[in-house]
Symmetry: C2
Subunit: 467 residues, 2 copies
């Protein structure tokens, strides 16, 4: 053991800090697991506030709450960044049933997709045509589609280990399903919920009519996977069954909202800005604990853990709680717009928006030199079972910052259970495990610590010399 | 893409199989995720049978059920291996309360530890002394311990990333707490539940009196973490509070039970035996879905997935569902004893007994040469996010097979939530995720496939040459 300690000491002896990086990481993880605050914050956000759809009362309460909590941390600055956000409301709970030829009806679980128009006040009833995707609608054309309810039923691919890839392979049906079906005269759209599990929860999410003329816009809703299976098997027996649904959702005027921002100003390079964040808004079903309450409280705890463990960042560290990721991305766009106006130098942005599950690592959207620089830190994370350092996407809110220079990163938690809860009424606090959440916060803090310590300027200068 | 495929083909061109290993693993994972049977079996075991304490009616039903299911797979052999097991029963639900000086009482959640004796029929009431472990009891001695209820309250260490290490750091209180306290004249023992979460579930588990004389044996029970905290804080305010508990558990005569075994006989080396298994018995609280229904159904599915994907094992592959891991290990000992009698050559044993959570890898108990041989396969698992190949323990049931030659291995799933459920009434089916369970079965099957294909004889012969 002594030999091992000597070796470690030797390995890190070139560092300018008296503490070794391994010791700092240990201190960060220990503090998060014994004295983390993310879980307590998430409890409040989820159970005292609840769902936080953009423009809702709850969203504004969450803005005030998180601002106050950040202020209590004694950061150098805390402010609200104004942003106008869309406002869509669900209205009364939806109702839907399948009606057989004999006139018997079976109630099924649906929810309006975010951005959809309402059905007529008495609902909408029509025959159903099941399709596997947008192309099939186009291939079938007006003759088969007109006057029908189009039922998009392509399931997520269960063989994808990265479940976000399975999601990416199906989300077009939800987002553009009504726009495409509307072009061919469909009356409405029902979309299989984006969930790998067979269960009874309908999952909402953003949809868009694009520039479809208003008279061609049709209501669209998600149906639970169990009821999608039921509808599909009933259609196989009798294609003349009718589907009825009623929803009263609508779009209101844009309203004023805010990104919530807190900052620890860098001691040596205050103009090099690192941000860590999640999105404060959520869908209106459930309480948005995983999506993305978890990412918000983890990001807040990054700044708190930095302070608790006595780290003094050389570079400026900001937490940004973005508003309106779910149905507009207005917060992310506004933040990037203001950063550009102020000619701020953002060197690194890390988003947590994949749920509060056990962290596995990060994906990085950056040049090879920066990636290899970061990848060299991977062994420091091995004691924490963090093993995934790969190139890939980051997060929707930080995407608008992309400029060919900034390093973007996304926390990658275990993704197997994420879509069981995503955008559904069971995205609730009790499905977040305290330790898993805290491990995520510690993993993010550790990466921020290393970025702050080692920066990217050295490796970039080297690259430039090479070129 | 073409270049990549060529490269892959080239890399694997030396293999004797027409399919590459990477393709076989993909086929195994795909089959498990689209056509696995582990979840359906676990549903039956958990919800149609329920808890399976050794010697109970349910345990025998589970023996029959799993035997029938294995027979339906068309294996080469399925048999029951008789083993006598201890029988301990909980009796009536326990009752416990804390009584303050003023005479007010607060009910608290306890459960008898497995193997404990009952309290007197009217229960046991005494003052409480809180300790942090066995050594403290010894240090305090008769004067402080006699006539008291000893409250072991050392919590699991939350900074351990491997939660089994935190468990290992506390389990002595549960196992030997009553034996040690009994020596010093304590009247009873209450042990903090081995759980990292603060909640209301008491967690049972094995305890032993060793060779303590019968007149010194005292009843012992676990208390939920929330109520352990409550008891501790009440003691800080008033050390004269009394604790009352009543339990009517008892030990009966040993009964006949069985290990359930199924076999695919090897086509080339039938005498080289690989086993995969879990334990069929569970504690009597909950339904034993994670501990260890999950390991049993995953092990059963290994043989089924081998058949489904068309693999013909060269070596003999057995699934063993061990009886009585929880309170005796009689099944594991019996299996090893019979193997020794028959001079069977077991080359590999893999146990899954750490819950049905997302698999992270394996630990291996073996010599360096075998470990390095296995470690060379690790890259094949990267697409499935399996990254943990480390030396370490394996599983209790396969431990008795250890002979300096066999390679022992344990599946290592994510362990963060395991102790939330372990040995408690919330170890139930709904806390097992289908995909996570299936990924574990596929990961085990993949390792078995590779062990079967490459064996250990080559590398061992090389090692012998070196020596």
């Amino acid at each position: 053991m002594k030999k091992f300690s000597l070796l470690i000491a030797l390995l890190f002896s070139l560092n300018s800090f008296s503490q070794t990086d391994a010791e700092v990481l240990k201190s960060i993880y220990d503090t998060s697991l014994t004295n983390g605050k993310s879980y307590e914050w998430l409890d409040y956000l989820s159970n005292q506030i609840g769902s936080r759809l953009s423009g809702s009362h709850n969203a504004e309460v969450a803005v005030q709450y998180t601002k106050e909590q950040l202020e209590a941390l004694g950061l150098d600055k805390v402010w609200l960044q104004p942003v106008m956000v869309p406002r869509w409301i669900r209205g009364k709970k939806e109702h839907a049933y399948i009606k057989t030829e004999k006139g018997t009806t079976i109630d099924v679980n649906i929810c309006a997709l975010g951005g959809s128009i309402a059905t007529p006040a008495l609902g909408l009833k029509a025959n159903v045509i099941e399709v596997q995707g947008l192309d099939e609608v186009k291939a079938l054309g007006n003759e088969k589609i007109e006057g029908k309810i189009v039922f998009y039923n392509r399931p997520m691919d269960p063989t994808q280990i990265h479940t976000f890839r399975a999601y990416g392979g199906c989300a077009d049906q939800r987002y553009a399903g009504a726009r495409v079906a509307g072009e061919y005269g469909a009356l409405g759209v029902i979309v299989r919920s984006l969930n790998l599990r067979q269960d009874d929860y309908p999952h909402t999410g953003a949809m868009s009519y694009g520039d479809l003329p208003v008279d061609k816009r049709i209501p669209s809703a998600a149906i639970s996977t169990n009821h999608a299976n039921l509808l599909s098997s009933m259609l196989k027996m009798d294609e003349e069954i009718e589907f009825y649904f009623k929803q009263s959702c609508k779009k209101l005027e844009d309203v004023q909202s805010y990104n919530v921002i807190g900052e620890i100003t860098g001691s040596e390079y205050p103009n090099e800005i690192m941000i860590v964040g999640g999105h404060l808004d959520s869908w209106d079903l459930g309480d948005g604990a995983h999506d993305d309450g978890a990412g918000c409280v983890q990001s807040m705890d990054v700044l708190r853990l930095i302070k608790e463990t006595g780290i003094k960042p050389k570079r400026t560290l900001r937490v940004v709680l973005f508003m309106n990721e779910e149905n507009g991305l207005r917060g992310g766009r506004k933040y990037a717009e203001v950063a550009k106006q102020k000619v701020e130098n953002h060197i690194f942005a890390l988003e947590s928006d994949s749920g509060g599950f056990t962290p596995r690592g990060f994906s990085f959207d950056c040049d090879d030199a920066s990636f290899n620089h970061i990848k060299s830190w991977e062994p420091l994370f091995k004691p924490y079972l963090i093993h995934y350092f790969e190139k890939g996407g980051s997060g929707a809110d930080i995407g608008p910052l992309k400029d060919g220079n900034i390093v973007l990163s996304g926390l990658r938690p275990d993704s197997q259970r994420y879509f069981d809860h995503h955008h559904a009424s069971n995205d609730t606090f009790e499905h977040v495990n305290k330790r898993e959440l805290e491990l995520g916060a510690a993993t993010m803090t550790s990466l921020i610590y290393l970025v702050d310590k080692y920066g990217f300027s050295n490796i970039r200068n080297k690259e430039e010399l090479k070129d």
